[in-house]
Subunit: 250 residues, 2 copies
């Protein structure tokens, strides 16, 4: 876009949009980044359109840079949503007209196919920022999310399902946690994503056996009770391990 306050639709690929399910982890909870539409106050996933010289991956990372201030976000396509009746009218178009971002609604009130991405970010580093459609951007816990616009609930559900399935094949821990973290924190993350409790001792043994963590001398002080050790990921070994996956397979 030339100026961020005005959308130039001649620079955009018609019929194609993208939506991102941005996951963060905070207070032992999985959070998702949502936008509140200016006029209707409905909630939506962050998304955007594709510039003529962009791949959708580049477009998605541009959108997320605008929404979070972060670069090099972990991003993964998971599904294209293309039901013919998913978006003959764009629920945000009136906001765009109101704000002067567009002069004409016709381009936006077409049928759109949306490429779904999920993204993993370090909660503490992201700075949620609304877009032209919205007046608010913030993190919501999964259980606090109810009705989203269009088929965004479906997109969210599918993203979660994919996240669970890919837990053993993607660098999920690495992207969702701060650089240094404790074993109980890592375990909580796994428990939250999987929706079930894991045995503390077996979890630790298994994790360490992958040889992807560096135990630091330092401990996490401040909390009550015994101070747990801090760890960081050994990126080299982590990368190798992910190629094979951590579990199962013939």
């Amino acid at each position: 876009m030339n100026r961020s306050s005005h959308l130039d639709e001649t620079q955009l690929l018609k019929h194609i949009s993208l939506d991102c399910v941005v996951f963060g982890f905070h207070d032992s909870q999985l959070k998702v980044l949502l936008l509140r539409m200016k006029r209707t106050k409905d909630w939506a996933l962050p998304g955007g359109f594709v510039l003529l010289d962009e791949s959708i991956e580049i477009a998605a990372s541009r959108v997320l840079r605008e929404r979070t201030g972060l670069d090099h976000i972990f991003l993964k396509q998971f599904k294209v949503f293309s039901s013919p009746d998913r978006s003959n009218t764009n629920p945000g178009v009136q906001d765009l007209l109101d704000s002067g971002a567009i002069d004409d609604s016709s381009w936006f009130n077409q049928r759109f196919i949306s490429v779904g991405f999920y993204a993993l970010v370090d909660f503490s580093k992201a700075e949620p920022t609304p877009d032209l459609f919205s007046d608010l951007c913030h993190w919501k816990s999964l259980e606090d999310i109810d009705l989203l616009i269009l088929d965004h609930n479906q997109i969210l559900d599918k993203a979660l399902e994919t996240l669970r399935l890919q837990l053993n094949y993607q660098p999920i821990g690495y992207n969702l946690l701060p650089d240094r973290f404790t074993m109980p924190e890592l375990q909580k993350l796994y428990e939250t994503i999987l929706g079930k409790e894991l045995d503390r001792r077996n979890f630790q043994r298994k994790m360490l056996s992958y040889d992807i963590l560096c135990k630091l001398e330092e401990r996490k002080t401040g909390g009550a009770h015994k101070a747990p050790f801090l760890y960081e990921f050994n990126l080299e070994n982590y990368g190798k391990a992910l190629k094979h996956g951590f579990n199962g397979g013939w």
Copy 2:
């Protein structure tokens, strides 16, 4: 399309196409369905465009019905290919002009985003049929495939990778084999997809333990050596088992 001999581009979604990697299994080999372009004799994956009232899934199954004569094909999206330089010119457009399928090349010489699908079909039931671009449609073994048009090699590679990863989570055996098959045939299929040999006895034990097969009284006669039993899938149990995956996981 109104008449199969003429493409009406006003009925098609701009900038969006789909390509299918259709897998079959025959002679202990994984086969892929390819088309030969009329003029250049280059090879390509079967693909097509999306009608205004179709989802891409519906479009893909329409395309595959035209290419194989089969309905209800197992189809799965695996990735969107959207590099901006993947298709500013469509290599088949001259064939379309030659054959009178289109009057004007401009619609087809745009940038296209392609949704990649992989499909699994019963080799013995498919009837390969060329499309408007091509004069030949047939099965090729993986090792016999060299250069394909555009980024179709990349699409094929990614499809294979996905197939391997999803082997334990998708009804792959069911869709690639005839209704009744022997245990050695099923094993060969797994070995071919995974690219490695498996122990005959352990494979059989493991497969049977999933409780997804019905052993029939009948044996497969005709071949040399001891006649192996025939099996069929127990669809009910197979469906249940796939929900959890057959292997690994926390």
